[in-house]
């Protein structure tokens, strides 16, 4: 086992996750005093630690703060909105321990959720969320220390964690028995094979990376590389699918249709409205192509590629007819990001090296279906055919807010300009003519002549 300074036992953390790509992977935690056992979803796409704090129809249990002698309410209300769903809770602090994590008890910020909308999905087996992204995304402000920052400072572990999700080829949203590992504080060598390839974190908010190129069946999509990073390209365990910007999604679907052996595939399948079902003895994967994603290497003049086989993006679902086995398309379109979600992450051991501001990918031994690997990683490749920077230097994190604020600023500027012009105009230009302005004996002209 890899040890960090002899203090952290990574082997104890192997297989500490349960779940699946459809409903997420969760870690067991003990909260408060006496400890209350809760399952916590691992999400690298947000930064708050929050748990159900009140009974909810979709959640089997919740954190009862009244029963914890160590809970301390900060009295601040916080709302967090996700791509899907939102919650409102109260900020507080309490102690936690992780039966299959870092040994010890740590005091951390906890939001107890008292109201939520489409956040706890029916049938999920988790009761809270562990946001592992950077504090800049924490709500209500970045001054709320994140779970992992608290752990690093209190447990004195290295500022790095790694994630292996083992749901490849298993039904999405199934029984929740797939496993995985969240290694806090380092890298566990038994969880990967071959070399680790690192890509720089472009900006520390989400785990934002730079994607240079996409290939379907070895054919370059030939899009401007900025299309792949439109707004952001992130690594997010809290998203099930591989989400692609609309233009990229269309190009990928076109390429799959072109290269797959199935022609005139119903559009409903690609948008997720339909499942494709084959006879129980048939497997569809041989009909679909590989998809490769090129990421910028640490050495910026080279790149490496991660490849997912159809076993990862043509995903079996549980809804099987007697004689049919059904699959869904594990890629969707997005208006605001390219997201390397569970569809991709299940193929790799992913290392979030915050200390050195980089994300690593290595082959995961559990990414296999029927004894054959379903992911590949290769490099280095030259970046001579790609722009030197595929990520916009001006980052518009909230584009709609930016547009609204610019519009308001322009409007205020125009009003101000108009008022200044009015002020500068000589008084005679500002005179309003009325019926009383008719030249008569009372008029100023006559009055002046009389003078």
């Amino acid at each position: 086992a890899a040890e960090s300074g002899g203090a952290v036992n990574f082997v104890a953390m192997v297989d500490n996750l349960q779940g699946d790509s459809g409903r997420g992977y969760y870690l067991e935690m003990l909260l408060g005093t006496p400890p209350q056992k809760l399952n916590i979803l691992v999400d690298t796409g947000s930064s708050n630690f929050a748990v159900a704090g009140a009974p909810n129809a979709d959640v089997a249990s919740y954190f009862d703060t009244k029963k914890s002698s160590t809970y301390w309410s900060l009295g601040t209300e916080v709302t967090v909105k996700y791509t899907q769903g939102s919650w409102t809770g109260t900020l507080g602090t309490d102690v936690i321990t992780m039966p299959k994590g870092i040994n010890g008890t740590y005091t951390i910020n906890i939001a107890t959720i008292f109201q939520s909308d489409n956040f706890f999905l029916k049938g999920v087996k988790w009761h809270g969320i562990l946001g592992l992204a950077y504090s800049v995304l924490a709500k209500p402000s970045s001054s709320v220390e994140t779970f992992f920052d608290s752990l690093v400072s209190q447990a004195k572990i290295p500022n790095i964690f790694s994630l292996q999700m083992c749901g490849a080829g298993l039904p999405v949203s199934g029984s929740g028995t797939s496993g995985g590992s969240l290694i806090l504080g380092g890298i566990e060598p038994s969880l990967y094979e071959g070399e680790v390839w690192y890509t720089p974190i472009k900006e520390e908010w989400y785990y934002q990376v730079e994607i240079l190129k996409l290939e379907v069946a070895g054919q370059n999509l030939n899009l401007d590389c900025r299309e792949y990073n439109k707004e952001k390209a992130i690594v997010d365990s809290g998203t099930t699918l591989l989400r692609l910007p609309e233009k990229v999604f269309s190009a990928v679907v076109d390429a799959i249709v072109r290269t797959s052996l199935i022609q005139e595939f119903s559009p409903g399948f690609w948008i997720g409205a339909q499942l494709a079902c084959w006879g129980i003895m048939e497997e569809p994967w041989a009909m679909f192509p590989k998809i490769s994603i090129y990421l910028r290497d640490e050495n910026s003049s080279s790149s490496f590629r991660i490849t997912i086989l159809p076993q990862l993006y043509i995903q079996p679902v549980l809804e099987t007819d007697q004689n049919l086995k059904c699959y869904r398309f594990g890629i969707s379109s997005s208006t605001n990001a390219l997201v390397l979600g569970a569809t991709v992450m299940e193929g790799f051991y992913v290392i979030f090296d915050r200390a050195q501001k980089k994300v690593g990918f290595a082959l995961s031994p559990c990414a296999e279906v029927g004894g054959f690997p379903v992911s590949e990683i290769e490099g280095p490749f030259t970046t001579a055919d790609v722009a030197s920077n595929c990520v916009s230097t001006i980052s518009f994190h909230e584009p709609i807010l930016w547009i609204v604020s610019y519009a308001l600023m322009s409007f205020c500027g125009l009003v101000l300009l108009f008022l200044i012009i009015l002020l500068l105009l000589p008084p005679r230009f500002r005179h309003h003519y009325t019926e009383n302005d008719i030249v008569n004996d009372e008029s100023s002209l006559v009055r002046h002549r009389w003078k």
Binding site: Y82, Q84, D236, F265, G272, W278, A286, Q322, S332
Partner: protein, 50 residues
């Protein structure tokens, strides 16, 4: 064939033509079904997007 196999709940017109694999054999054509319990027919249904 689709309706016979799946019952009325899942009847959808099929627009899939048989294709030929490199070895010359016919590629099996899929039956397309609507996922049960997904009224919104959205890709995100049944998925996390946090």
């Amino acid at each position: 064939v689709a309706s016979g196999r799946c019952g009325a709940r899942f009847v959808f017109p099929l627009r899939v033509s048989p294709a030929v694999a490199p070895n010359g054999s016919l590629v099996p054509t899929p039956v397309l079904l609507k996922p049960a319990g997904r009224a919104g027919a959205s890709q995100e249904a049944g998925s996390l997007a946090l």
